[in-house]
């Protein structure tokens, strides 16, 4: 059995075999382990990160950490001015963005249309009334302006358009959405909200991914939207609250509820407000990532098996000699287990350094821009440790089996190289 002495002798042998092994061969095995580790963690992390990118877009561009929105039976938040006044007295919120939101339509090329039977270039949209300065602090909206300019508070009859509303930027026609053709900064479009029609000038066009909440929206200064909606009571449609990094959003949500704000509005964290489908997609992507990672794990196991098997078979004579001079089979097997552990541990440690020292911070700072979202790498430490555990376990088994096969062979046959 595996006694202290067999473990000690196994370790003694393993250390010397690794230390005096060919440097290139050791480097290659460690490199394979590194790639396996990255395959296990990064592929899954990136797939989850694509969806996390979508979720993150919702948080940074729409909901913030906590969002106060209308009850299902209402079109506005009751007592909005009181709620906002209360919020402004709190020290936790970093930015508070109150918005008006209304369903509307926009139409382009109406001046060029000569045939009354011709289908108008018109689409439904959501018109969002914002304070341009506050909204820019909240969602950095100005940074997404690809063509033209951002809004200023004094603007009148000007709008920003999401890319899905503009033919040349949209990702194809979607149900209920007909992108506008030949629309550029300076173009005039016709905006209809609540039966009020107004001709407005396109001041800027945004560049965001297809799943961004900004993609199919029209933005204009809040006073104008309020006017179009016919509201005179300053009751807003939603209040998005950004908290400092690391703040406890559920605790803040609960605090607002306890403060009586829930009577006239829905108060939710970003996680509560995220559409159900996104969470399901996230789980699906995680499963796909795990499946791909599992294949990587099998490849790593086979690689280690082959490496240890070749090592053991080429050293069969020496294994025979070890047994001949009285070194137990267990000690020899343990030496191979230690070698496998060494390869897995070094590969994982380098992988951790590459992952948390470079990949995660770099990709977080420079997300991978994909049509669906700006992807990041999601690699929680707990999950990574679990994967390292799996990798080590697989490697140990893959190292143990071939050594066991060779150690079990007849001692004298091994020494003399007989089959």
């Amino acid at each position: 059995m595996f006694s202290f002495t067999t473990i000690r002798v196994g370790f003694y042998l393993a250390v010397r075999q690794v230390r005096r092994a060919n440097l290139w061969a050791t480097g290659l095995i460690v490199f394979v382990m590194l790639l396996t580790f990255l395959n296990l963690v990064v592929v899954t992390g990136l797939l989850v990160g694509i969806v996390a990118g979508i979720s993150n877009q919702f948080r940074t561009q729409e909901t913030g950490d906590v969002i106060i929105s209308t009850l299902d039976t209402k079109e506005y938040i009751e007592n909005s001015p009181d709620i906002l006044s209360f919020l402004y007295t709190l020290h936790e919120p970093q930015v508070i963005s109150a918005r008006y939101r209304a369903a509307g339509t926009i139409e382009a090329n109406y001046l060029a249309r000569t045939d009354p039977n011709e289908k108008p270039n018109k689409t439904g949209t959501t018109v969002v009334g914002i304070d341009p300065i506050v909204e820019n602090r909240f969602s950095h909206l100005a940074s997404y302006v690809h063509e033209g300019q951002y809004l200023s508070p004094s603007d009148y009859d000007t709008v920003l358009l999401g890319p899905q509303l503009v033919d040349r930027y949209s990702f194809g026609e979607q149900p209920g959405l007909t992108p506008l053709k030949n629309v550029y900064p300076g173009s005039k479009i016709r905006l209809t909200v609540n039966g009020h029609v107004r001709e407005v000038v396109v001041k800027g066009i945004l560049d965001v991914s297809a799943n961004s909440p900004l993609a199919a929206r029209v933005f204009m200064p809040a006073p104008e939207v309020r006017q179009l909606m016919g509201r005179t009571d300053y009751a807003v449609s939603e209040v998005a609250i950004l908290l400092p990094p690391g703040a406890d959003a559920p605790a803040f949500r609960d605090f607002l509820k306890r403060s009586g704000l829930a009577a006239g509005a829905k108060i939710r964290t970003f996680q509560d407000a995220i559409p159900n489908g996104v969470a399901e997609v996230q789980n699906t992507f995680a499963m796909i990532g795990n499946a791909i990672g599992s294949i990587g794990l099998v490849v790593a196991a086979i690689t280690i098996f082959i490496v240890i098997f070749i090592n053991a078979i080429t050293r069969r004579k020496f294994i025979g000699i070890l047994k001949g001079i009285g070194i137990s089979g267990e000690a020899i097997e343990i030496s191979y287990i230690f070698q496998s552990l060494f390869y897995a541990a070094i590969g994982s440690v380098i992988g951790l350094v590459v992952l948390y020292g470079f990949l995660v911070p770099y990709i977080s700072a420079h997300p991978i821009v994909l049509p669906i979202s700006d992807a990041i790498i999601v690699a929680p430490v707990g999950g990574t440790m679990l994967r390292i555990g799996l990798l080590v376990l697989t490697t140990v088994v893959a190292g143990y089996l071939p050594s066991r096969m060779i150690v079990r062979k007849n001692t004298l046959d091994s020494i003399l190289g007989r089959d």
């Binding site: 042998l13 010397r16 000699i321 070890l322 001079i325 009285g326 070194i327």
Partner: protein
């Protein structure tokens, strides 16, 4: 004391059976230096492997200090070899990634000795064969004669009851062979039981008893 009783060893290669040992009987007393000689293919190495528990006989028995070895498990055999036997192989059989000192210390560690003690005893054994200055050398950095002396050190460091040597001088030049044989002679004079296989008569004469094997049988057993 090792007693060999009607030892038979047959090798099978498909339907072909080759009987290499055809019923060997003899007894080796403690402190004896026995040389087993014979022409190539006579069965002398096969006999050594059966006696030293590296291989299992087809029939017959090897009794060590009166105890039969036929009922031993493989683990018991390994343990027995570790505690009681020392081996010197024709091709030295050193582990290439271990230094001379580490090669010699390894069986001592396996016996449970503390590393400091094991290395001290290994150093002593290497100094005994004149290799006190080559402790940190890998086998590849040593000559054939030096490697064989390391092999002898490894075999004697744990003070075995019996030292088995299989053609210990076969790969060595005359000078190195003489050095190795003088070491055996000294060990024998110190009371070490040695059983050595050789095909060289001049080295067999170092032994106190010569057993000649031919065609799987003992043809002579003489004290020198």
């Amino acid at each position: 004391m090792i007693e060999i009783k009607n030892l038979v060893k047959t090798f099978k290669d498909g339907p072909v059976e080759t009987r290499v040992l055809k019923g060997i009987d003899f007894l080796v007393r403690d402190g004896e230096f026995v040389a087993i000689i014979g022409r190539s293919g006579a069965g002398k190495s096969t006999l050594l492997y059966q006696m030293s528990l590296l291989d299992e006989p087809t029939d017959g028995d090897v009794l060590i200090e009166g105890h039969s070895t036929r009922v031993m498990t493989q683990d018991e055999e390994i343990r027995f070899r570790l505690e009681k036997f020392g081996y010197v192989f024709q091709d030295y059989a050193l582990l290439p990634e271990l230094t001379a000192l580490e090669n010699v210390a390894l069986p001592l560690l396996m016996q449970g000795a503390d590393r400091v003690i094991a290395e001290a005893r290994a150093t002593e054994a290497l100094e005994r064969v004149g290799l006190g200055n080559r402790l940190g050398n890998l086998p590849g950095q040593l000559s054939g004669g030096e490697q064989q002396r390391v092999s002898i050190s490894r075999a004697i460091a744990h003070t075995p009851s019996v030292l088995f040597a299989d053609e210990p001088t076969a790969n060595l030049d005359k000078e190195s062979s003489a050095v190795v044989m003088n070491i055996f002679k000294e060990l024998h004079e110190g009371g070490q039981t040695i059983i050595m296989v050789t095909h060289e008569d001049e080295f067999a004469r170092f032994a106190g008893r010569i057993i000649k094997i031919d065609d799987g049988r003992i043809v002579s057993d003489a004290r020198v």
